[in-house]
Point group: C2
Chain length 173, copies 2
DNA sequence: GCCCAGAGCTGCGAAATCCGCAATAGTTAG
DNA sequence: CTAACTATTGCGGATTTCGCAGCTCTGGGC
């Protein structure tokens, strides 16, 4: 048992199932970390192989993976470069908002073209990544829908010219 | 729920290679698109289930998936919210660059803390997402390493406060 | 037209993997 | 100390993966 607690944090109220990044995410010990790292290298790696790597039985790994998925701590998915699969226009949109930033963030999150929403400190209150099929589509999303949201004071767009790096190796340094 | 239609795409003669934007990426027909969509929903979905969904045999799906992976068109990985895995500080950094933007982009891509690099049009030439363990680490990366790169004229940072959405559903609208 | 080569698909065992379940520790609360 | 709960293990049986041989379709060379 060499596994140590990362940070012992006690008494966390449960029952919160918010979108993401809610810190309802308790423990996550070093074994689960190791499992995640294995799956970041290959999302289809067999449970037995992972178990051998992290020192657990196949069944235990399976149970932990299922739990991590259920809790939303991780997801196992195929990722691609959108440009390769037919989406020709992407942009990052920075926004300034008046009132509750989170309400605007939620509205953005409901849009299918929006892949990524983050609340930030700095000269923007929100950043959102938009994935569209063409220029008309992008224009429509930004001008007709995002700027129409109540509370959005101003936006600034950065159209993607070339994606240079995109990794999913958190924890695998 | 499982609609058979993928991304609307005009009927394609099977021999036609539409001139896709530059990359060494061979066409990618609608069947492969459909396979990718299946794996975007669940990266561990069995080949037989995918085959039934897209109208192909298990073996054919397996061959196509392997090819897509080998070609680098997609990867099947576990993705997480870095905040839940022990990385407490993230930021998007916008940059203005003099000279060849791509050289700077390549240098950024070599840094392990940099998860995402994209060349953009607009008031920034480059956007880079940084994932760090703490404030010291973040400060070090931005001030000591990024701003030290030759050609970097100025930077502006947006520290993440809360990640609201992060999906990998390109093509699954 | 004819033949050949290459790419893609299918079907089929054999091997490996996944899955559910019951039994076994370890932990915490009373 | 016991009860309740959670995590883990070991096991069959069902399912999936894997490799391979054979088949079809297409395009090129002659």
């Amino acid at each position: 048992m060499h596994s140590e607690h990362v940070v012992s944090r006690s008494a966390e109220p449960k029952g919160s199932q918010e979108t993401r990044s809610g810190n309802s995410t308790p423990p996550l010990d070093s074994v689960s970390l190791a499992i995640i790292e294995q799956l970041q290298e290959d999302g289809r790696r067999p449970y037995a192989a992972i178990g051998k790597a992290v020192g657990l039985s196949e069944a235990a790994v399976r149970q932990r993976v299922q739990k991590l998925l259920d809790q939303g701590v991780m997801q196992i998915v195929a990722v691609t470069d959108p440009l390769t699969v037919g989406f020709r226009r992407q942009a990052m949109v920075g926004m300034n908002v008046e009132g509750d930033t989170e309400i605007v963030a939620d509205a953005l999150s409901d849009m299918p073209e929006v892949e990524y929403v983050v609340m930030t400190a700095g000269s923007f209150d929100l950043l959102a990544e938009i994935v569209c099929e063409d220029d008309d589509h992008l224009l429509d999303v930004i001008n007709k829908r995002i700027r129409a949201l109540p509370g959005v004071r101003s936006t600034e767009s950065f159209v993607y010219l070339k994606l240079k790096k995109q990794t999913y190796m958190w924890g695998t340094r």
